[in-house]
């Protein structure tokens, strides 16, 4: 690299061979010869002046159809105005302006193509190709210019300078990465944010979207309630919090539930609450089948078995949906015992493995 005469540049006279090397292609002496262009065939419009005249009339007509289309589109703008609160008027406006413009455009296009096909000269034209590379002297001169520039600058000789330059340029993009840091808020970390929701001890379960609290006695067997925490609707980050706190509430026959020992107190008389946010990539899992007690995610078809603490029974998800421990307050309304015991939603790098032990 540091030598005065770089030798890794292809000599200019190599031009010919690299271009014609056929690799493993077979070239046969007795291959057929190209028979050349077949004789030119005349079109009907070349032979019959009447046909040419007819084509001409069609083309002219089409261009004027286009004009009519444009005029129609403008007329439709006024003839089919959009009236407030009347979607029928939007439909007519859409169809008729679109119809006029479609006619205007298609007619121009068809006319121009028909013109070129029927009336313009259709003799085959021939262009000669040249190799894409410059001719040998030009290519040689280009190579020589680079070598000369190298000699005159010492780019390959003054290695310290060259490497210094490369280092300087390589270091330059890194400040940009730091500039992007403030795309996200300066405070907090994602792992922290994903680990907490609005649920805490005593937060009432309320109906989505009205925010009305739910009496345990209202949740009959076979029902499903879509639930948000009390106070969510007044939260500043309503959508962000809802995206973590949304819960699905179901009541099963207590005998149908297989409850693990440490979750004995998490359901209330067969009423169970599970996070609605899929542990796969975060779609709301909300398709509850009241006879099979299966939950299905409509985005990627993961299935969870509510009788077995929302364990995955099919699909791309791996982890069960997190369960929200619930109970009732003194008025009989359903409340949370605490926040979820693990982060809800999709997995992420910083997610620990010891939430449920």
């Amino acid at each position: 690299m540091a030598s005065n005469e770089p030798t890794d540049i292809v000599p200019a006279d190599d031009h010919g061979t690299t271009f014609t090397d056929p690799g493993t292609a077979v070239e046969r002496a007795d291959a057929f010869q190209n028979p050349g262009l077949p004789p030119h065939q005349l079109r009907v419009t070349d032979k019959d002046p009447k046909a040419a005249k007819r084509a001409e009339r069609v083309i002219v007509l089409l261009f004027y159809v286009s004009v009519i289309g444009s005029v129609f589109a403008m007329a439709a703008y006024f003839a089919f105005p959009i009236k407030p609160n009347d979607l029928g008027s939007v439909r007519l406006n859409n169809v008729f302006i679109g119809l006029g413009l479609a006619f205007a455009l298609l007619a121009i296009g068809i006319a121009a193509i028909h013109w070129s096909k029927a009336l313009m000269d259709d003799h085959e034209g021939i262009d000669i190709r040249h190799p894409v590379a410059g001719p040998p002297p030009v290519q040689a001169r280009a190579v020589e210019i680079f070598r000369q520039a190298d000699r005159e600058s010492g780019f390959n000789r003054r290695v310290l300078i060259r490497n210094g330059m490369i280092a300087a340029i390589a270091a330059l993009p890194f400040p940009a990465i730091f500039l992007f840091r403030d795309l996200a808020p300066a405070a907090g970390t994602p792992a922290e944010a994903y680990s907490h929701t609005l649920w805490k001890q005593g937060t009432r379960l309320t109906k989505d979207p009205t925010g009305d609290p739910i009496l345990a006695s209202d949740v009959t067997i076979g029902s499903v309630f879509h639930v948000i925490p009390d106070g969510l609707l007044k939260s500043d980050d309503m959508l962000e919090e809802k995206g973590k706190a949304a819960v699905l509430l179901m009541r099963l026959e207590p005998g149908d539930l297989h409850v693990s020992p440490d979750r004995k107190t998490w359901n209330y008389d067969g009423i169970v609450a599970y996070s609605k946010i899929c542990t796969h990539v975060g779609c709301p899992v909300a398709l509850y089948e009241q006879q099979t007690h299966h939950l299905l995610c409509p985005c990627h078809q993961s299935q969870f078995d509510i009788t077995r603490e929302a364990a995955v029974i099919f699909g791309p998800a791996v982890r069960p949906l997190p369960q929200l421990p619930i109970t009732v307050d003194s008025e009989g309304y359903l409340v949370a015992q605490s926040d979820f015991h693990e982060p809800v939603g999709p997995s992420f790098w910083e997610r620990r493995g010891d939430y449920n032990v």
């Binding site: 009907v44 119809l99 193509i113 009496l215 909300a286 099919f314």
Partner: protein, 272 residues
Amino acid sequence: MAAMNSSDTKPERRRRGRRSPLASVALVLTGLLITGGAYALMSAAAPANASVDLSSAQSIQQGKKLFAANCATCHGLDLAGSSSGPSLIGVGAAAVDFQVGTGRMPLAQDAPQAEVKPRVFDETQTLQMAAYVASISPGPGIPASSNLTLTGDATKGAELFRINCAMCHNVAGAGGALTEGKYAPNLMNTTPAHIYEAMLTGPQNMPVFNDQNITPQEKQDIITALKTQNKDAGVGGFELGSLGPVAEGLFIWIFGLGAVVAFTVWLTAKGH
């Protein structure tokens, strides 16, 4: 069923559109008018309530006869159910009207779920059976027509529909897949009374939405929203089954790109 119908007619419509862009324009217009007409007819079809007094002994007696002949084999004359049919205790008149009125019952064949079919019993017979079932064990009643007036709050209803129903039935009511071959049916041609009854009784795998979960007013809001939405869904033209991006993608590949390629073939073909 409605889903099947609409998907049957679609390829027909598209095949026509393929011939020539000009012909398609005219045909598409005709189709648009027909669709509009169909909508008008559909929204005019209000639930025709036959006059049956659900509490009269005569209705109950008639219903008992029909029930004994057609339903008791599986569900038992005392509604206790058997190995081949669930118990009907507490399902109420609403469930009978829904199941029999939509043709789901009597069950035709062993399928993942009961399918909508042409109904076997007329309005009167259905109501008589409902009267019988309700007389044995009370449950949700058939909704009063005052609850089905389509005068609810469409905005509230649409939001409730999105939160409680759209994940299974699709946001436009086009239906969707459930597990193991089951599906949530298309709701576009379902009558308001049947939608109401379905929410109230939770047929098959559909959860129950009792009046504490979704109040009668909210149920009416949902039905209003659904019917308003159906009426206006075609504001931008044919909805391609309201199936979303997959239908749109297939349309652009088959018909959009198909038409474009047809033009390229014409435009590069040698003049003759």
